[in-house]
Symmetry: C2
Subunit: 370 residues, 2 copies
């Protein structure tokens, strides 16, 4: 079966107040991705996967037409906040299955688009806002492992700091841990500056089979491992609230298929929908020991160690839902290719992307290698 | 690479006046599909692909939870009326790529749901209703090949007649060609009884890798060929209006990968969004010579020859958008397995499904073999 490479990447600037529409966002990032590859035009694309929560129909075909492509497949993939990496995996699967050689994967959402609140899950209680599940997780995690408010505030401050070197992040403010602690308490154990915020944004990447990848780049980034886990749709499918079970299951499979151990990961972007999720995820993935994630991240604050969430994660970079997983993959691909500019991690060869949805009820993990 | 089989099929009754919701529709057809296989429970499902135009979020995970599955991937695939077979192909691709062994593919839409009118395509003129593009195609096709109103009315009458032996069809009225001709002219060259009509409905099937297929059935139906073609999103991407170019491109690829010729097809369900599309598609696919499709279908009227659209096609069975492609595949799978009951075509071993969207701007073709 063919290997699959990322041969092009493109980003749209994340913004809190853009009035750009979904089609325009998708086209912009996709043209950047095409331009980043060598001699790759729209007509060379034979598959299009769109990731969005927007309600527009037939966006795959619209995007194809807009870039001059006449692909085989063109479709939208939706799975709330994990749509981005799921679209990437769908493109990968079509190439591996022999159905395409080049797939454009493009994600976009707007700050006021659908998907920000998931009302179906009545196990969340009367308030379906994401911060309410995050609060449950935060209280459980902090109690279980004796993690303090100061520690999660430091993790948030680190995310905002890393985002300052990410030109596509929606804000570039440095906040101290004390400023995070002083920000509004929006739910028990969750401060405003510990929350990712919906914004407008887009990201695209281009996947290619091994047969054609060398036409388009001299530095392909290989998709070397994939794992996906869906526990259900209700938050009560999580066995506990002090870990992210789906992240652990997906990462185990992704690392197994990549043939690498968690200790070999050089750089990772993980889905810190809220700051407290960041240590929980790196623990569940095996990058930090159980209960040791918060201390590990706090130790990185104030140092040059950017191994985890070098672009600022989702708290720092902003969260345009359908673009998020693709933006994570774009950044990690650039890291392992050595082109991450100011955010570059030294000697990054093996990268990991963790993207999740709906109180961690599903996760997709992708391992990328240079 | 593994072969992929259909090991279970389930249908929900198509209806014009159901008040059932999307989740319930998806679960109903999916439970039927699970029941149709041997010893296959929800927990055995490791991928879920939902096909719908509905705006509900996270339906893949909701369906997984509702049937007791904890799959890897769970997502919605949307591409207007071709969502159904595109979801099937996504499931096939995940299995072929080694990401899953069993994928539930489930489609549903409601009679009043989104996707029935595609307003983005301004090349259609001031009236974006599908009947307006169909009218352009009908006038072009009838003029080009000298096809009469009586012939397309006979094709419609044949669809309604075939649907009488389809227990899931939304109506079971027999109409004579004269009754079709006497029905309301809804656009130039298009009568009301020549139109497919949106309805509520659902369909599900279960795909399995060769490694596990024999656990669940003694009569697997193999997905032996796939082709997909997207010309763009605007109807003006069609080179002409007297054929369905995307159907021809997708069928050529599907037949090539299946290693069979068009003359070897024993039974086919093709996407007759309007009656005039049926001859155009069988010509573009190569089942009938160019300009000879209408005469071929009229010759079948009044005989027992059900080779084309034995379940009544979309004009006869009804068109719950996201369910349509899956319902077509369910029926053709049953045909080649010899379990199509009153609609059974004699000695059907090689079947073809053609599903399309948005004025034929995209098509997916699947070849199924017993």
């Amino acid at each position: 079966m063919t290997r699959v490479a990322i041969v092009g990447t493109g980003m749209g600037r994340f913004s809190k107040d853009s009035d750009e529409g979904i089609e325009s966002l998708l086209v912009g990032a996709s043209k950047s991705a095409l331009d980043s590859a060598r001699n790759l035009a729209g007509r060379d694309i034979d598959g299009v996967m769109v990731s969005t929560n927007a309600h527009d129909s037939y966006l795959g075909a619209i995007l194809a037409e807009s870039i001059g492509a006449k692909p085989g497949v063109a479709q939208t993939v939706e799975s709330l906040c994990v749509s981005g990496t799921n679209a990437l995996v769908s493109g990968y699967a079509h190439i591996r299955a022999g159905l395409a050689d080049t797939v454009l994967v493009a994600g976009a959402d707007t700050f006021d688009g659908p998907g920000r609140v998931f009302e179906w899950d009545s196990s969340r209680g009367d308030d379906p806002r994401p911060v309410m599940w995050a609060s449950r997780f935060a209280e459980s995690y902090k109690t279980k492992y004796g993690v303090s408010d100061e520690q999660t505030a430091t993790i948030a401050a680190r995310a905002h700091k890393n985002a300052r070197s990410n030109p596509d992040a929606y804000v570039h403010n440095a906040y101290t841990p004390q400023q995070v602690l002083d920000s509004k308490l929006v739910a028990p154990s969750i401060r405003l500056l510990e929350c990712s915020r919906a914004c407008t944004g887009s990201a695209s990447l281009i996947l290619a089979s091994e047969r054609v990848a060398s036409r388009y780049t001299d530095s392909p980034v290989w998709v070397s491992g994939i794992g996906q886990s869906t526990l259900g749709a209700s938050m009560t499918n999580n066995k506990s609230f002090h870990d992210i079970e789906s992240a652990g299951l997906a990462a185990t499979e992704a690392l197994r298929t990549a043939g690498v151990g968690a200790s070999e990961i050089d750089v990772a972007e993980v889905h810190d929908a809220f700051s407290v999720c960041e240590p929980m995820i790196i623990e569940s993935i095996g990058i930090a020991p159980l209960g040791g994630g918060a201390a590990a991240l706090c130790d990185m604050y104030g140092t040059s160690d950017r191994m985890i969430n070098p672009r600022g994660g989702i708290v720092g970079a902003g969260h345009p839902l359908g673009a998020t997983g693709i933006a994570q993959a774009v950044h990690v691909a650039r890291q392992v290719a050595g082109t991450a500019d100011a955010a570059q991690v030294d000697s990054a060869h093996i990268g990991l992307v963790h993207n999740m949805a709906a109180a961690g009820t599903s996760s997709t993990v992708v391992v990328l290698r240079s």
